[in-house]
Every structure is written in C-alpha cells, then in structure tokens.
Symmetry: C2
C-alpha cells in the first residue's frame, strides 16, 4: 500500500472549500472582464533563464524555485513559475507586436515556491493578477484601485481599506535631504514600521542616515497617513521638488478619478511611508487590508512600474497592476464567517426508490436540469432514509421522492431536507414550478 | 537580452483563444454541477511513488514524467501529475471516510507529459474529469453518458456520437472460445481496427489466436456495431454465458435510462469491439466523436472500473467516469468554425477625449458596469480615431464618446464600431438604456 498523503507544503482542496473558491474566482473574472481586461494563460513550466534573469525575482524567491526535468531533458533548464509577473513580462515581450497597446490582461493560476512549510503557507498557491501595459496614464493607475474595490465588493468583503502612495514622494524627500543613494536601506526600514514599531525603525534608519535625517524621515512618514489633506501638507514639509510634485499630482489625479468612479472615499487612505518592496515599483503603489482583519496583511497589492519587460525586449513598456491573494483572502473570510452557501452544487436530490424503475428519477431530474435547476439522482436503490441522510449532509435543499404508490398516478412527494416537512402527492406536470417555489425564486440554479 | 520564447512543447494562450476556453470551461462546470458533481482540486505536484505505483500509469506515460526538485529537496521524490485519475484515487483513499459515498467529483486542471513535441500536441494540457465513486449502479453508468451529452450540447457542439460497449461481452466471447488468457493481445489488436483496417488486425489477431478464432472475433466485432438491435443478436452469436449476459443487460439498462433522460437515440451507438485501453476498465466504456470530424478522434472517453484506489487503500471503491479533452475539442471546433463571439470581454469602449476631464469617461463607465454592462475606458487622451481603431480591432461593439461640445450639456455620442454609424447628442441620464438597446437585449454583459 502506498501512503495517500500529499507532499509536504501541498494540499488537497475538498468540495466545500472548492465551491467557495470557484465562486470567488468566477466573481473576479467577471469583475476583471467588466473593465475590459482580457484573460491569458502561460505554461506552469518556464525556461530557467526566464525565471532567474537579473531582476526577475528576489534572491529569496530564486532560492525557492522548483526545478523541472523530464527523462532525456537537461537538469537546470526548466522550472515552475514562482509568480505571474515574470511570465507576463515574457508574454508581453513575445506578443506585444500582435496585441498592440494598451494591453490589459488578467491571469489566474497556481505559482510554486519551495518555502518552509508553515500553517497557512503553501508551496503551491493561486494568484489573480491584472495589469495594464503600455500606458503611463493616471486613468490606468486609478482603475487599478477601482478594480481592487469592485473585485472585493463583488466577492462579498464588507469593508476594506485601499492604501495608496507614490514612490516619487519619498524619493524626493530623500533627495532633498541629500541621501538619494540611501533609498534601499530607508525603504527596507520603513516597510517594517507596522510590525516592529517606531523605535526599532529609527535605530535601523540611523544605520544609513544621521539622527536628524532619520527623525525627519520618520516624522514625515508618520504625518503622511490619512485622506486627501495629507497631500496638502507635503509642500510645506519638503518644499518644492519636481519628483515630489509629480508624485503628489499623480495621487490627486487618482483620488479625483476614483471619486468620479463612485468609489467611497472612506475606502481610500494615503500612506506616504508605504513602499511595497524595493526596486520594482516606480510610481503609485497600493495595498489593501480588510477592516478589523489587518493582522492578515494585505489581500491585494500592486503598483506602477516603468519598464515591465526590460529583460526580454528593448521596447519600453510601462504599466500598472495588482494581484489578489486568493488563499489569504479566503482564509480571512472563512475565519470572519463571511463564507456563505452550501457544499452542494445541485439543490435537488431525486431519490432512487427501491422497486421503482430508476428511469423515473432520471427522467424527472433531466426535466429539472432543463429548467435550470440542478438535480442529482441517488445512484443506488437503497433505503430512502439513507438517501435523505446523504442529501442533508451534502447540503441538498429538497428531495423529490416517487415511491411505488406515486409512480402509477404520476405523482411525487417533495421533502424539505432542513425541516423534514413533506408535501405529498404533487403531479409530475407541476414538477418544475413546485420545486422552484420550494427553493425560492432565483435560487434554483446550481451555485 | 533573454529570448522570450516558451520551452519546447509548451505554449502561451493569447486572449482570443483564452476567452473561448474560459467560456467552455464555465459551461462544463455548470453542466457537471447541475448533476451534483462537486469540484475538488489536488496539487500539480505529487509524490513520485503515488504516480509510479504499479498500475497507476502505462509504461509510456511513466517515461514522460517530469521530475520536480527544489533546492534542498531530494531528486526523484516529487513529480508533476500526468493525469487527474491517479490524484483522484489518492484523494479518495485519503478522504473517503470524511466524504462518504457515493462521491461525485469533477476536476479541471493541467497535466504534464514530456511527449515528443508535435503539431497540436503539448507537454501541458487541460483535462476535465468527472467520476462517481462508490457505486456499481447502472444509473451512474448512464449518467456518465448523459453528462457527456449535456456538456457537449451546452458547449455548442452540434452533432456527435457517443459509442458504448461493455468489456464483459468481449471477455465472455474469448472465454467461450477458450482463449480468456489472450484478452491483452486481442484488445490491443482490435483497438487499431479503425486505424489500420481489418486485414492487418486479422494478421495481428492470428499471433494470439487460431485463424478460425481470429475470424470469429473479428466477425463478431464487425457485426457488433449499431443500435439496440445489436444486443439482440449477441445471444445467438455467443450462446449463453454469464459475463456476456451481464454486459448485455448493463448496456440495455444504460440505453433505457438514457431514453428516460431524453438523450436522443441517434446520438448513441453500440460498438462491441470498443476496448479503450487494456487493463483499467471492467464494465461499460465510452468514447465520443463529433459527427463529420471523426478524424480528430474521441473528444470524451471513459468507463467503469472495479477498484479505483487499490494502490492506496484496502477499501474497494468501484466507480465510473469520463474525461473531456478540452484542447482537442477546441481545436476541432475552431477548425469547424463553431467558435463564436468576439475577442473583447467588455462590449463598450468609453473614449478618453483629449481636453475633456477623464473623470467623465471613468464615471460613465462605472455607471455602465453597475448596470451589468462591461465598459473599458481608453487610458490615454490620444486621437479619438486611434481609440476607435483600438476598439474595432479588439472587438468592442460600441463606443461612448464625450467631446468638449458634449461635456457641458451632459451629452454623449454613441458609435457602432462595426457600421461606424453614430447617434449624436444623447443625454447622460439615458446612458444605460441607450447602450443596452444598441447592444441588443441580454448582450450587455461581458461574455
């Protein structure tokens, strides 16, 4: 016997969880599509040099790569993708002449990282990315936040906050202080502010800056959180600086467009200390926390980059995009009790009554499906009580039962599997309307 | 510069093809769900011993396995799955006590085989599997064919033939001839009948049987194709034999149930020579060809097995299921010209008119989306002619245009991107109704 376990850090997704995942992915796809984003798919396996090219992934991510080799293949040539951004860069470089710009794509798929397994952390997980490539427009920047807003709202997240910044503001501040070359260590330190607290961050900043510079940077960041009014103070804090002004103007434009789009302003927050990684983003950056569930971290993050595909093409391709972390969001929603719905895909169970021709059940179920109502036939003519137990435990809502007494008169009984109440002796001609009424309007479809 | 090509035998799926794929997968999911099949997902990576356990895959498939290793991992321990059946067996062995039986699952996902790359043959491809585990009922056998029928019909395949056999009939014939031990070579030879013709098959059969036996087997198979009447002749051809009678009774029951389900009988065919592989199936087997496109081979195949998970558990788990080959079906439908629809996800393009506040376009697009009509805003305020060209080439159907003359009066122009006709000066208040009318009823949603 072989042990049926999965490998360390991997997992099976059973039906109850998978039904929720599919519903959420379907909602995301509809949201992305409603903005004109187009789906693409790239292979799970990429050539190693595509994944490990300079700047493609952080050192940590590269250490976590899974090599792939088939018999007769050369080890080290192929690997599993660790995100959907490097494959997007390769895809765009290869296909941009056919596709033209702006190119708006979404992609949903598994990515693989050989991280040390831990609770809630898996070596295969799903990313949901959307990007607009080939434009520097603030319309695309604002739309990225708008898509995050609509995607989370449509997926049933009741309240969340999208935090925005533009990397140019902090860049300008450091330039004003004469320490533009210290961006790396400063951003690394600031990224930890929420986690380790101001004292430790101040200590770390003083490794790269003077005490006075460190204090100014930290004060700027700490005063840089809030609504639109935060942007009004930047001028007096830093003075006139072209990059700062560019960054502030971009954030004002984004907030104006989001207002025009009807995104509630209390869903949006400015945080001038938000960095989101070190080298990649060059303009607006986003992160999103669910109100009251901030400890789960960001459920959707992204930003603007100057040049997506520089590893693969000379053509300069600026863009903006974000990623929704499906697994983290689902874990949060589950814990918050926001996951609704049953574990059944079809709401009706049609009993297979002992001694009655199973063609009767099969025929009635086919009629229900034709009317758009999902219906499952129990395969074996076992005790009806056992069949009802199966239906209740699976989340079926009603059962259609035709016993030997009913079959001749072309009648059925309809049992509510929650209340166990039974409506007896309904004519077959009234099947669809009776079942639809029992399920409640609009709830007949598999969902 | 790194070459942005994909590895040999792999491919990118661009938007136009991906939109069609997503539509088809969505249709399959809805069909599977309408019968009460539940979705599951298993990792792309499995432990090697799970995949290579005796009987898990054919020698050919095992030679094509992709090994997977991460830094610090041991080579040879992990591999990419080559189908969804072995993972199902492992999943069921691990979870059956929690899930109970009958367990009806569907799974859609990529599988990997290091085959020699060839036109239309890829090393990563998508399988769509559905199975009913834990029952020997003919209701589940018939339902398998019914799901194939509904899935293909709902996906827009106009005419196809599901061919059925029961392996017990041929087993019984060979037993009657006293050559029950020759099942392997006989089935292997018969599987090639359509491809190489009767003479070559007769030659091959004579490697295992006497000339007379070979002739009888071939004659039986050749007369064994057609409708229900084929089954009436079996008794006189073979005489009384318990396995034959079991097989014939099963096929009769299946055809009766499919009739009760309303599956048209001209979609069904018996072929008593149909084997579908050698060792795995033990009862009914199915294969499905699209009428007029038989050269593409079977687009959906499957059958009944006695014992799914014997590698992993002592518990005997009989079941029945089938797989739809998404890539083959899509290639066929594309070539047949049955793939409909545009390459756009959102039917409306909202122009970003130079000199007009882009918030106007963003606001109108948000209103359309709220009304369930997909709308894309062009990100840059370039020449409107260029924006219309983008819309036409992408497959957007209408464009909403607000120029400087319109914006003050709160008007818009609506351009049909196919006919280039423009309706001028419509009030913003009438946006949703005007656009919905122009798109035609029910066609507003992204699709």
């Amino acid at each position: 016997m072989i042990d049926p376990r999965v490998a360390s850090g991997l997992r099976d997704i059973p039906p109850a969880a998978m039904i929720v995942r599919e519903r959420m992915l379907d909602s995301f796809r509809k949201t992305f599509a409603s903005f004109g984003f187009l789906p693409i798919e790239t292979p799970h396996i990429e050539r190693m040099e595509v994944l490990t090219g300079k700047g493609a992934g952080s050192d940590e991510v590269l250490r976590q790569i899974f090599d792939v080799t088939n018999k007769g293949g050369t080890p080290g040539e192929l690997a599993l993708r660790f995100d959907l951004t490097v494959p997007l860069a390769r895809f765009v470089a290869k296909h941009v002449n056919d596709l033209g710009t702006p190119f708006k794509r979404y992609a949903i798929g598994s990515v693989f990282r050989g991280e040390r397994p831990a609770k809630g952390r898996f070596r295969e997980f799903v990313q949901c990315d959307f990007d607009t490539v080939g434009t520097e427009s603030a319309v695309a920047d604002a739309e990225t936040a708008q898509v995050i807003h609509d995607a989370l709202s449509n997926a049933g997240v009741p309240a969340f906050t999208i935090t925005l910044n533009n990397r140019k503001v902090l860049d300008g501040l450091l330039d004003t202080l004469g320490v533009a070359d210290k961006t790396g260590p400063v951003l690394r330190a600031l990224d930890k502010l929420a986690k380790v607290g101001r004292e430790k961050v101040l200590d770390e900043l003083q490794g790269a800056l003077t005490g006075d510079q460190a204090a100014r940077v930290l004060a700027f960041v700490e005063q840089g959180r809030g609504g639109l009014e935060v942007l009004d103070r930047v001028g007096e804090q830093i003075g006139s600086h072209p990059r700062v002004e560019e960054g502030v103007a971009n954030l004002r434009a984004i907030l104006g467009l989001l207002d025009a789009a009807g995104v509630p302003s209390d869903r949006l927050k400015i945080d001038l200390g938000l960095a989101r990684g070190l080298d990649y983003y060059t303009g607006v950056v986003f992160e999103t926390t669910v109100d009251g569930w901030e400890r789960f971290g960001s459920v959707s993050s992204g930003g603007r980059y100057d040049n997506l595909a520089s590893l693969f093409t000379d053509r300069k391709l600026p863009g903006v995009g974000a990623s929704i972390g499906l697994d983290r969001l689902l874990a949060l929603m589950e814990e918050a009790g926001w996951v609704k719905g049953t574990a059944a895909t079809a709401p009706v169970l049609v009993a297979n009554f002992p001694g009655v021709d199973p063609g009767v059940a099969v025929g009635l179920a086919a009629r229900l499906r034709k009317a758009g109502i999902g219906a499952e036939v129990f395969p074996d003519p076992t005790q009806v009580g056992k069949q009802m137990g199966y239906g209740s435990s699976r989340g079926h809502r009603v059962a259609v039962i035709v016993g030997p007494d009913e079959v001749e008169k072309k009648l059925f009984n309809l049992r509510d599997l929650a209340t166990r109440q039974e409506r007896k002796g309904v004519g077959w001609a009234d099947l669809e309307t009776t079942v639809r009424d029992a399920l409640g309007s609009g709830q007949g479809a598999a969902s």
